[in-house]
């Protein structure tokens, strides 16, 4: 019998249709029932309007959309023979705000989704503390606002750089938010210093002697046997060019090069209900994207150890994301220290009306690679296509060729499957846009 389960708390809504056999998930399909038509809205508009419209695809990762758009526009400039060389300062500020968006996302996911859901599943001592997530996320958003003006839905990146021209005081303020965020993470989540956490090399290092949100989370994941559940294809992909990760396709631990031309999409399979989603594939295969993929591609000892023990289980997926919070906080702090405010914020670029070309912008959004493909004729958008990370992770395909999430849920109980579904960090509004 097929049963429908409504999924909320995911930026919009989704339904999972379970085919249960002997109390285990035999197969499941996913439906995303919302649609806005962002791509067709962009078509026919001034290419620079995309800087205002694209971020509004998503309320939680709109900044990543802004950066994908601006990269697509800059790529179009390049393809039209007007290559834009950004100042290091502009690059770093963009990177900083992107990372802070990632951090706010992970905090929210951890405290508002994962801990409460895991507590339900294990009846454990895990305590629900959603306000913690909200507070940490607000600090990260404030750091973004210093450079971006507001969060969500900022438009401060433009072809050629960024519009802000921060002073030393702005940088100090941002540093202050980062310091507060780090000490909050140490005090409220880790129970130990960030440096010590980042020096972990084995899952055993999640010290059971001290008790913190993170050690309890780790323990509860083991109690729920999530270290043996939720395994997908053990294939990962990272596509956005950034200094904090490597672009790569990984099959188990073996890394290969990536070319965006091999990315394709197909309509999602949803026999029970109308869906507006597409599945994203690479060379016709399904991959997992996001923090685990990013952390795998830079071969961090702790993540390698985790993967050796528990492969791409729900445990690894969750803990890699928690680890990424610490890793990115540390990275963002260094990034800020190296911004040279005397450099130009923005370089001159040609009038958009002179640009007729197509361009591709790829960034690592909180959930993985986000691709924006733009085609411009004399400054007007002819065609716009968006491929989002959730389309990679939470595709819905047939039983013969299941997607990452479908494989991960197979063979578990429905309750476990619902938790595993959330370990991918679903974004419904992005998926259908």
């Amino acid at each position: 019998m097929i049963t429908r389960q409504l999924i909320e708390q995911i930026e919009g809504e989704a339904s999972v249709y379970f085919d249960i056999k002997e109390k285990k998930v035999n197969f499941a399909t996913v439906t995303f029932p919302h649609f806005r038509g962002m791509e067709s809205i962009l078509e026919g508009k001034n290419a620079l309007d995309s800087l205002v419209i694209s971020p509004r695809v998503c309320g939680i990762c709109g900044h990543a959309h802004l950066m994908a758009t601006v990269r697509a526009l800059e790529d179009a400039y390049k393809n039209a023979g007007c290559e834009i060389i950004l100042s290091e300062k502009a690059e770093k500020i963009r990177e900083f705000t992107l990372i802070m968006e990632m951090i706010q996302n992970h905090f929210k996911w951890l405290y508002i989704v994962i801990i409460p859901e895991l507590a339900k599943l294990t009846n454990s001592i895990l305590e629900k503390k959603p306000l913690k997530g909200a507070y940490a996320a607000s600090l990260a958003a404030k750091a973004i606002a210093i450079f971006g003006g507001q969060w969500p839905h900022s438009s401060y990146m433009i072809p050629g750089g960024v519009t802000c021209d921060p002073t030393q005081i702005d940088i100090l303020q941002a540093q202050n938010h980062i310091d507060e965020l780090i000490s909050f993470f140490e005090r409220e989540s880790l129970g130990i210093a960030l440096d010590k956490f980042l020096s972990f090399e084995s899952c055993k290092d999640f010290n059971k002697e001290i008790q913190s949100d993170i050690t309890l989370l780790e323990e509860s994941l083991i109690v729920a046997d999530m270290n043996h559940k939720g395994l997908a294809y053990d294939r990962f992909i990272v596509m956005g060019e950034h200094d904090f990760t490597h672009v790569a396709k990984l099959k188990q631990t073996r890394a290969f090069g990536v070319d965006s031309k091999y990315v394709s999409t197909v309509e999602a399979y949803s026999p029970q209900e109308n869906t507006y989603a597409y599945n994203a594939l690479y060379k016709d295969e399904y991959y997992e994207t996001g923090p685990l993929a990013r952390m795998m591609s830079i071969s961090l000892p702790i993540i390698k150890n985790m993967h050796r023990r528990y492969k791409d289980s729900a445990y690894s997926r969750v803990m890699a994301r928690v680890f990424e919070i610490g890793y990115m906080l540390n990275y963002a702090k260094e990034l800020l220290q190296n911004i040279d405010i005397l450099q130009e914020s923005v370089v001159n670029v040609a009038d958009i009306k002179k640009i007729s070309a197509s361009g591709l912008g790829i960034v690592e959004a909180p959930r993985g690679p986000l691709l924006h493909n733009i085609e411009i004729k004399q400054g007007i958008i002819q065609n716009y296509k968006i491929i989002t990370p959730t389309q990679f992770n939470i595709g819905s395909s047939t039983i013969e060729k299941p997607t990452s999430v479908q494989i991960a849920m197979k063979g578990t109980t429905k309750e476990d499957a619902l938790f595993i579904f959330r370990t991918f960090d679903v974004c419904s509004v992005c998926t259908t846009h």
């Binding site: 038509g37 067709s40 973004i144 839905h153 021209d165 914020s345």
Partner: protein
């Protein structure tokens, strides 16, 4: 016509234009009555006091957090709380004597039945409030409300959530405030958006839940005017709440995202008075949308001095000059972000040299967006403003600003010549 009379005429015309601009830009644009006289406020005070006393006798709504406990848990002292209350009092344009009442109203927040619906959107408004764009206490107040009733965030899901919603609707029949986030897709019989265990269309869902609401608060540009989903060619036939609901009090809090401070303002006002705040012709509360971005803009002095950013990254940009020529829509946009700002007052778009995109005005996505200076933006008159006076003012505005820029453009051209060593 000889040269002399031509020149005189030209000078006169210029003087007229300068006068016109001066008049418009020094005219009191915020036609919000902020002092209604002692008799009015005394009466209002008594009404509010009676209401607060009555609310105190009621039980808090099940499972709702107690704000005093939460404030304590967050280490917020009574003194800071009162400071916040006095700021809210000011925002609501009430005399300072109302501060203790506002503080009481905030503490009674858990008596206010609020139901939150999320329709066709990006979840940005709930993100904005969850991630707390308001001062810290706004955040807590909104967390208390949103975490309990928010469709995206509530702990229950599926049938359980539906049941909770039914119970709340029944128990608080005709008393609850309904917050709506997101637009309503009308094409294809509403099938572009369905919700809940029974896959009801957004339209049906909204109609059902709004039927017994005391008032509806449309939050964000999508719920108010259709927002980005309604941008040309409006693929899903997206419309705002006021396009489909008639005969109910509706309060619009546009902007993308809406500022949480304004959401809190509306809730406190409701608790305090039991009424909707004074609205403009687009149903926006005047306390928040009674003036333009331009009126209180930190870069306003540069507009008046004719100092503009001519292109991104130029000397003007480095000196925080006015962004009008690179497309800022502040002179056309009614909202309080120049005062309240975003993310706990940290910053706002103009603060980072980006310019206002007019996100609290209808059709901003098609008409106001981007680098087009206002005069080229194909904006007809704004469809609204603060009541009639400001509506009329708004009508004249485009032309006025067009003239303004003309004059300033001449001035900056002349200045440029001087710098080049040319004769003026």
């Amino acid at each position: 016509m000889n040269d002399y009379s031509f020149n005189v005429k030209k000078e006169l015309a210029m003087a007229d234009r300068i006068e016109g601009v001066k008049k418009l830009f020094t005219s009191k644009s915020a036609r919000v009555e902020t002092n209604k006289g002692d008799a009015y406020y005394d009466k209002l005070f008594q009404t509010c006091q009676a209401r607060v006393e009555e609310l105190k006798t009621q039980q808090p709504i099940n499972n709702r957090l107690d704000i005093e406990d939460v404030l304590e848990a967050h280490g917020i002292e009574r003194r800071d709380f009162l400071k916040w209350a006095s700021a809210v009092t000011g925002m609501l344009m009430l005399p300072a004597s109302f501060t203790p009442l506002v503080a009481d109203a905030a503490l009674l927040m858990n008596r206010a039945p609020v139901i939150w619906l999320e329709l066709q959107d990006c979840a940005g408004n709930s993100e904005a409030l969850l991630r707390s764009d308001g001062p810290k206490i706004d955040e807590i107040v909104l967390d208390i409300i949103s975490l309990e009733f928010h469709e995206t965030l509530q702990a229950a899901s599926g049938h359980q959530a539906e049941k909770q919603l039914e119970d709340a609707m029944e128990h608080f029949k005709d008393k609850y405030l309904l917050f709506v986030e997101g637009s309503i897709p009308m094409e294809m019989d509403g099938q572009y958006g369905t919700i809940g265990a029974s896959a009801e269309t957004f339209y049906d869902h909204l109609m059902r839940v709004s039927k017994h609401a005391a008032a509806i608060v449309a939050v964000g540009s999508c719920a108010t005017f259709g927002g980005v989903p309604a941008a040309s060619p409006n693929p899903t036939g997206a419309v705002g709440v006021m396009d489909v609901i008639k005969g109910k009090p509706i309060i619009n809090i546009p902007a993308c995202p809406a500022n949480p401070a304004n959401m809190v303002g509306v809730i406190i006002h409701y608790i305090l008075t039991g009424q909707v705040p004074e609205l403009d012709s687009l149903l926006r509360p005047k306390f928040a949308f009674g003036y333009r971005i331009h009126d209180n803009c930190e870069r306003r002095a540069h507009f008046d001095a004719g100092e503009y950013v001519e292109e991104w990254g130029d000397e003007g940009a480095k000196n925080n000059f006015c962004l009008y020529k690179v497309g800022c829509k502040g002179p056309m946009t009614f909202n309080n972000c120049s005062i309240v700002r975003y993310n706990e007052g940290v910053n706002w778009p103009i603060g980072v040299g980006r310019g206002c995109i007019g996100c609290s005005e209808p059709d901003f996505w098609d008409k106001y967006a981007y680098e087009r200076p206002m005069a080229d933006a194909n904006i007809k008159a704004p469809t609204g403003g603060v009541e009639k006076t400001v509506d009329e003012f708004g009508l004249g505005l485009l032309t006025a600003a067009g003239i303004g820029i003309g004059i300033h453009a001449v001035a900056s051209a002349l200045a440029g010549k001087k710098e080049d060593g040319g004769e003026v």
